[in-house]
Amino acid sequence: MDRHDGFREFVLARQQALMRTAYLLTGDAHLAEDLLQSVLMNVVRQWHKLSKDGNPEAYTRKALVNQYISWKRRPRPEVPSSDPPERCVSHDDATLDRIVLRQALDRLTPKQRAVIVLRFREDLSEAQTAELLGCSVGTVKSQTHHALARLRAVAPELAHLLSEREIVEVAR
């Protein structure tokens, strides 16, 4: 019996869900993997505490979002690359929505992007999102408002996804 068995079980069960969140936050498969790996290295260090009286998944998710915001705040030197953003087209409407939304998400600030992912995909309430981000409910509301306004401005073709009716239904 290895002392990391519990951690292994947790990762095996939850890593794909966490990876999906990491991918939505970063928009890049390699970065998402790096982000999640770096967070899990911290989780394994805290595992003995988390496994006794904590909620490992909530802790990991919170660490994931905070680490992502922290990474994005870091100044990064410009690196020449032959790696333009992963974008392409298809004649399929759903594929087109996906591509345009991914491009539009890239135009948000890290916190705005995190709010969109947590509120509209992870289905967290405003209070839960505020707790996870370590800010007030008012801040979550204003960040959501600004994020949606920005998405509507940079991607008017996504109007059908971002209409008030849709948003109210998602946020319900």
Binding site: L12, Q16, S82, P84, R102, F120, E166
Partner: protein
């Protein structure tokens, strides 16, 4: 479920499958060892440096040995960094004026300039057809055919991990002008057994083993963002096919060749208009095409390319380096070079140059080898 959530879920579905438990534990252990050992190591290094300084005079670092056939090392296991290009060594001309291709092999050159042999990558089939390799657009992934595995292998140069495709491909399927394209995440490889034939190609998901048969009339250009770009020459049709299959081709009026990947805004593609006298190839003129309507957006003469003699010509178009710059591969008599070209003005600036000493030169994100 609303469409916004559905779309976010669709994006999340593209997240790669991972297995990070052991990697995280190993990273944690390594970090702990580093922390606890740092003080002792620091002391040891200071002592060692002091000893060296007092016992031997300073020596300049020896220049790296020139990398001829005898000294080129094999591609090591582990991280080597992204690749700049790969090349196939040339066949030897024997004294009987015939070609000996027994020693032809694939070599890769990293962005940092190190050259390695890749003996595990088959270079020639038993029927003496050249076997392709492919480098992803960012240089991180190398895909090749392994005779031992009878399948394609994808090597991640950033981590050193290798994934062997679960889909066996027999060596005799590899024919004349066979093509291979790997996606940026290394998950998909597209194998075209015979260029210009109607023999169908195969799109392989190396993680799941799922395959999609590709219409043999089309040739693959790129695989990115979950979409495979296929071109049917002469007609000319461009088909942006999702990796799960489907989609419809769009037709361009007139024959075009040398397509590159779709622009980052998803609207246009670069190609070269073909005529019997290859005028656009010789003059370095490309055409910007609309991928939705099939119309010509503009003809773009490239400015700033060397035009020193009659041997100069466009060899290929390449990936986009930004939203407004794409790359081309251009050759003079002595050199092959890649240029970034402004998609609005046509102004070119040189990125990288290569000596014309290779049998086949494979560049990141360029589907076909240039030679």
């Amino acid at each position: 479920m609303t469409r916004l959530r559905e779309t976010l879920n669709d994006i999340a579905d593209e997240a790669p499958l991972v297995n990070l438990a052991d990697v995280a534990i190993a990273g944690y252990r390594r970090r702990r060892r580093l922390t606890t050992g740092a003080a002792a190591l620091g002391t040891a290094l200071v002592l060692a440096a002091a000893t060296v300084a007092t016992t031997v005079p300073w020596q300049h670092q020896q220049p790296a040995a020139s990398q001829d056939a005898a000294t080129v090392p094999d591609l090591p296991a582990g991280k080597v960094g992204p690749l700049s290009h790969a090349y196939q060594t040339r066949c030897e001309v024997t004294t009987q004026r015939s070609l000996n291709c027994d020693d032809v092999e694939w070599r890769v050159v990293t962005a940092a300039g190190a050259t390695y042999r890749v003996p595990q990558a088959l270079a020639m089939t038993t029927k003496e057809w050249r076997v392709p390799v492919s480098i992803s657009r960012d240089g991180r992934m190398l895909a090749y055919y392994s005779r031992q595995a009878q399948a394609h292998v994808i090597r991640d140069l950033m981590t050193g991990t290798e994934v062997t495709s679960p889909v066996p491909i027999t060596e005799d399927r590899i024919g004349a002008g066979s093509m291979l394209v790997v996606s940026d995440d290394g998950r998909y490889v597209v194998f075209d057994p015979r260029e210009g034939s109607k023999d169908p190609g195969t799109l392989i998901d190396v993680r799941t083993g799922r395959t999609v048969s590709l219409n043999g009339k089309y040739e693959v250009v790129s695989a990115k963002g979950g979409v495979v770009e296929l071109v049917r020459y002469v007609k000319t049709d461009l088909w942006l096919m999702p990796v799960t299959g489907g989609g419809k081709p769009v037709r361009f009026k007139g024959p075009y060749i040398m397509f590159n990947e779709v622009s980052p805004d998803g609207r246009t593609v670069i190609a070269v208009h073909w005529d019997r006298r290859n005028r656009d190839l010789k003059t370095g003129t490309v055409t910007v095409l609309d991928v939705k309507s099939g119309r010509v957006v503009r003809t773009l003469p490239i400015r700033g390319l060397p035009k020193d003699n009659k041997y100069t010509a466009l060899l290929s178009t390449g990936p986009w380096t930004s939203g407004h710059e794409f790359t081309v591969v251009y050759a003079t008599k002595e050199r092959v070079a890649t240029y970034a070209v402004d998609a609005d003005t046509g102004q070119a600036r040189q990125l990288t140059g290569y000596q014309r000493a290779f049998g086949e030169l494979v560049l990141p994100g360029v589907g076909e080898p240039v030679s």
